[in-house]
């Protein structure tokens, strides 16, 4: 993050406006084509972007979590169990899922966050595995390895959103809310604290910023967003199992974040927008999909350390001008 970004988001520059229009245009595509399949892809982009957005908040304080799928799982199971066992409306179950994931993150955050860098990655990796194993061990709640099927669809004011084109606007609203939250965090005092902690933890602490509490706050917010996105996923797909929220899902969030830009505000959205539909453009070569993911990840790390969202600035720099 740099100040140019921070300041420019307050004023709508023409370039930013163009990007915004492009985003809105991209969001409209399914309505133009009318294809159910495109609605499905667009919905998956929304969910992935939200979950990755949560991961980004954690990355803003300098930590990379490989337990993100587990928090999505906590949210998903919380909402599904509330809705199916206690007849709670889905509309309440979704935020409850976020709340549950955030609470868990808050409780385990302070010991975990004492570890940094690869050590934090490793312990979150272990937490994700532990979550999967424990869930498999309590089939009465988790459905075991066969999971839970027939999860109720999202319904708003008694209206069940059963068709893809009905769910999509709801998902878009959720995405706008989550991205709005990210923008507010990034541009407010909290964002300033997060950036200070990310850039120089020691200096941040001795400038009076409670770094441990700040990191835990980011971890809590980010994991809560993951929980919310996980709950959305569960009610949309209609099926979850402990394996749904395994290592692979955590890795795919990491890939989207890194590809979009680890510290860029719009990184999660760009990453999800680029990687979620990618396999569909490669229809003839579905089996190459993961290989392409892997190559993209390594290439982005190597040549675009700021991610795709940082590409315009990087091009501007290469041309000799300042971004």
């Amino acid at each position: 993050m740099n100040t140019a970004d921070t300041i420019s988001t307050h004023r709508a520059r023409p370039a930013n406006l163009l990007w915004l229009l492009a985003l809105v245009g991209a969001a409209m595509i399914p309505w133009f084509t009318g294809s159910t399949f495109h609605f499905h892809i667009a919905i998956m982009v929304c969910i992935a972007a939200m979950a990755t957005g949560g991961l980004a908040v954690i990355a803003w304080v300098g930590q990379l979590s490989l337990a993100h799928a587990a928090f999505a799982g906590v949210g998903a199971y919380t909402s599904v169990l509330l809705v199916t066992r206690l007849d709670v409306p889905v509309l309440l179950g979704l935020p409850a899922g976020g709340l549950a994931a955030g609470t868990v993150a808050f409780l385990i955050g302070s010991p975990l966050l004492r570890l940094r860098g690869v050590y934090f990655v490793l312990i979150t990796f272990a937490m994700n595995e532990l979550f999967r194993l424990v869930m498999l061990d309590i089939p009465a709640y988790s459905g075991g390895s066969s999971g839970i099927v027939g999860i109720p669809k999202i319904s708003v004011f008694g209206q069940t959103l059963s068709r893809h084109q009905d769910v999509y606007p709801f998902m878009l609203i959720c995405l706008v809310l989550v991205m709005g939250l990210l923008v507010l965090i990034r541009n407010g005092q909290l964002g300033r604290r997060f950036a200070a902690v990310e850039e120089n933890l020691t200096l941040a602490e001795s400038s009076g910023i409670p770094t441990a509490r700040t990191q835990n706050l980011a971890f809590t917010i980010g994991s809560a967003i993951a929980g919310f996105a996980g709950a959305l996923l569960a009610h949309y797909i209609g099926f979850i199992s402990p394996e749904t929220f395994g290592f692979q899902l955590s890795v795919s969030y990491v890939i989207m974040l890194v590809t979009g830009g680890r510290l860029a505000l719009w990184g999660p959205l760009v990453g999800a927008l680029f990687l979620t539909p990618l396999p569909e453009f490669l229809r003839g070569a579905v089996e190459y999909q993961h290989i392409i993911y892997g190559v993209v990840l390594i290439a982005v790390l190597r040549f675009l350390p700021q991610g795709l969202a940082g590409l315009p600035a990087q091009i501007a720099r290469a041309k000799g001008g300042r971004p």
């Binding site: 740099n2 100040t3 407010g188 009076g208």
Partner: protein, 256 residues
């Protein structure tokens, strides 16, 4: 004059090794106190204990009459005791203004709601914080560089920026860790003048660890000398300068 910082019987052991043993001293209100000694005398350890970076093995640290032992570094800063680092330590990727703003946050805190959702309170806090930043930049002669990216500044400016971040937390005692290290003689002179000015302007006391003897003798009202983790002398600059124990510690260290 009364003591703003009182350190008594401060001891730190690493394993069996005593880095600091039973050191007691006081920093007077409104004064510049120097902490000197040969390499390995325990100055930095002493700094780290006072700022909460390391836990003390035993002893007490009282700041403005309150025991601050066992507090974490950010809590110590909150009580009004800020520090700078030996190397030029800044947030290198953001502007000078943003650097100092991050220090100024401390005195303009917001609740979680206002911190996220903004509002009138947040705007007022932002305005006040920026006022503090302007004042600090003016005092340290950094105003011309406000929008420069910190990492691109000259070393001397970066060191001054380090002081500015500390100053923005509005400390009543500022701890400077070798502020002259890496500066050229002109910059050292300029820093000495500037330090006197900011001390008066912001009404604070200063505790400074420094190797640069000329600077220490020039700016300090009182000097504490450490050697091998123990206090061997203390007093006004000219008294300390002529103390045979101090001469021996320095010569001994040089001849060893």
């Amino acid at each position: 004059m009364s003591a703003v910082l009182e350190v008594s019987d401060l001891t730190k052991r690493f394993g069996g090794l005593a880095a600091l043993s039973n050191v007691s001293f006081a920093a007077e209100e409104g004064a510049i106190t120097g902490l000197i000694g040969p390499n390995g005398a325990g100055k930095t350890t002493c700094f780290n204990l006072i700022t909460g970076t390391l836990p003390a093995t035993s002893g007490t640290i009282r700041f403005k009459g309150r025991d601050i032992g066992g507090l974490s570094p950010h809590q110590v800063v909150e009580h009004g005791l800020a520090r700078t680092f030996q190397a030029a330590t800044t947030f290198p990727d953001v502007s000078v203004r943003e650097n100092i703003l991050r220090g100024a946050l401390l005195r303009h805190p917001l609740g979680l709601g206002a911190a996220i959702f903004g509002g009138a309170k947040a705007r007022a806090a932002e305005r006040d914080a920026n006022q503090t930043v302007d004042e600090v930049m003016d005092a340290l002669d950094l105003s011309d560089h406000a929008e420069r990216i910190a990492g691109t500044l000259a070393y001397g400016h970066q060191k001054r920026l380090g002081v500015a971040i500390g100053l923005a937390t509005r400390p009543s005692l500022l701890l400077l860790d070798e502020p002259a290290a890496g500066l050229n003689p002109d910059e050292v002179d300029r820093f000495a003048t500037m330090l006197g000015e900011i001390k008066a302007r912001f009404g604070m006391s200063v505790l400074v660890v420094e190797h640069h003897m000329r600077l220490i003798m020039r700016i300090c009202d009182q000097i504490i000398v450490l050697d091998h983790g123990e206090k061997i002398a203390e007093g006004a600059p000219d008294v300390v300068r002529d103390d045979p124990k101090v001469i021996e510690a320095y010569l001994g260290a040089e001849h060893a």
